[in-house]
Amino acid sequence: MKTKRIDKREDGVGVVETQYFIIDSLTLENREKIEHVTLAYETYGDLNENKTNAVLILHALSGDAHAAGLDIEQKNPGWWDSMIGPGRAFDTNKYFVICSNVIGGCKGSTGPSSINPATGRHYALDFPIVTINDMDDAQKRLIDHLGIDKLLTAVGGSMGGMLALSWLVRYPDRIRSAIPIATAIKHGPQQIAFDEVGRQAIMADPHWNSGNYYGGPLPAKGLAVARMIGHITYMSDMSMEVKFGRQRKNGTQPFKFTADYEVEGYLRYRGDSFVKRFDANSYLYITKAMDNFDATQWRPLQDSLQGLKTKVLVIAFKSDWLYPAYQSKEIVKACKRSGIETTYCEVDSTYGHDAFLLEIDEETHLISHFLKTVFHEYETA
């Protein structure tokens, strides 16, 4: 079945400029309001006349609106670039692809590092607690603004999968299909525990200063440790064995506890580089939103899905122990009980949770054919 691997640098969507959408006032689930909310987003391809070809890509914890192409400085490819572009899974010759940064984030959308219009200072911990559903609501306003009545699909991995599930449960009339990948209906205690260790690492950093570090030294150590823990949970023991083994790093060792092994160096590098691109308070807010998410918060999932015409494609990965396949099967079970049309594949991958960003061939095959069917049904409906 192997789909041809597409070279990342060839024939992509080219240079893309991030755009910004302003929401005057957004009411959150907890009834609090945020005024003047900015949402960063990018689009690829063209919306067709009937507006039936729009795809919403939903990013994971540390993702952003820049999903495809090269950013304006022409340096960085998008985080899912190998999936989006002409001839790729989300074929921009056929589909109008939208990706937006979530609220609470730090990649151009309003979050704790933004300036609070009421005070003229950074929100920091004055930023209200946001939920996955709030993130969806903000993105729904963007979809309204773009004049799209019904999305062809809402798709994402990890937290992006939760956002897709939130669309499915709360706005089923606004989507033809949903593609939750490597995700869960709700976090189990192990997932909450890993998130909490990350949050504690940030809050234990003296520079964190109860969230008021803007303009001063950043809680860089704490955020780096949080990211290191994250990275361990995104890999599998097998992918770590293949990537690092017990390989030692080269060079002299001036101190007893330097990074002796490749894996240590890798984690330190990943931790340190994350600090340059991510806000520690956003990390707290977004992980909390993920921990609080529960697609069954009002009623059992099968009841929410009952009678829907929406199609669902669920994808899980065998070696993913952060979002194990049994959690995806819980989604499938609810789909079965509700009688909606469902496709599920547990891809045999050794990459762990990272697989949703790496198993491009399998995802391309599943998603491109699934979308083709959904699009055909939408066009002929």
């Binding site: 079965k336 009980r337 496709t343 095959h365 083709k372």
Partner: protein, 196 residues
């Protein structure tokens, strides 16, 4: 396209516009045929990952999982037909799967290779060998089949379990068999339900 004779036979049993669940749908040939010829709402269940990719390429809805545990999650009467096409022999617990299939489907279509086909009997009787035939083409060491049953076995089972057989078709190669099916048919196809 050359449609398999047993697929044609199953096609005759399925009413248009119905909802169909196929257990062990493989690469989805029968399910595609049913969608094309009968406009059914089709759903497949399949254990093999590569077969899943083939089904998805055909535009089918297919769930990756095993039949033994995958069927229990459906509500009663979720489908008009539950189809077991050559998969009954490969299931760990055929009795509980059939019971569940009759719960989940209003009707169940079961198609399996007849172990009492005369060529099989001859191979056992004269050569003392485990039979290898067109409908049961595997050597003992490579067969996916866990259970071997004859047409008579199945009919007796239905009697024992109070399963009503609404229709039965017996085929060998590309022919219908009317006479002594347990001897001359390679494949038995049954349309069954729980009766009243």
């Amino acid at each position: 396209m050359n449609v398999r004779f047993d697929h044609k036979a199953i096609l005759k049993l399925v009413k248009p516009q119905s909802a169909v669940l196929e257990l062990g749908c493989g690469t989805g040939d029968l399910l595609s045929l049913l969608i094309k010829e009968r406009s059914v709402r089709g759903q497949g269940l399949e254990i093999d990952e590569q077969a899943i990719y083939a089904c998805v390429a055909k535009g089918l809805n297919v769930i990756h999982g095993d039949i033994d545990s995958g069927l229990a999650e459906y509500e009663d009467k979720s489908f008009d037909y539950v189809i077991l096409n050559q998969s009954l022999q490969q299931i760990k617990h055929p009795d509980s799967v059939l019971t569940d299939a009759l719960r989940v489907g209003r009707k169940v279509i079961i198609s399996f290779s007849n172990f009492a086909y005369y060529k099989s009997r001859l191979q056992i009787f004269f050569r003392g060998r485990t039979p290898v035939t067109g409908a049961l083409p595997y050597q003992w060491y490579e067969t996916p089949n866990l259970h071997f049953l004859s047409i008579t076995d199945f009919i007796n089972y239905c009697g024992l379990k109070k399963i009503r057989i609404e229709r039965r078709m017996y085929i060998s190669e590309d022919k219908r068999i009317k006479l002594l099916p347990n001897l001359f048919a390679q494949t038995g196809i049954f349309l069954a339900d729980r009766g009243l």
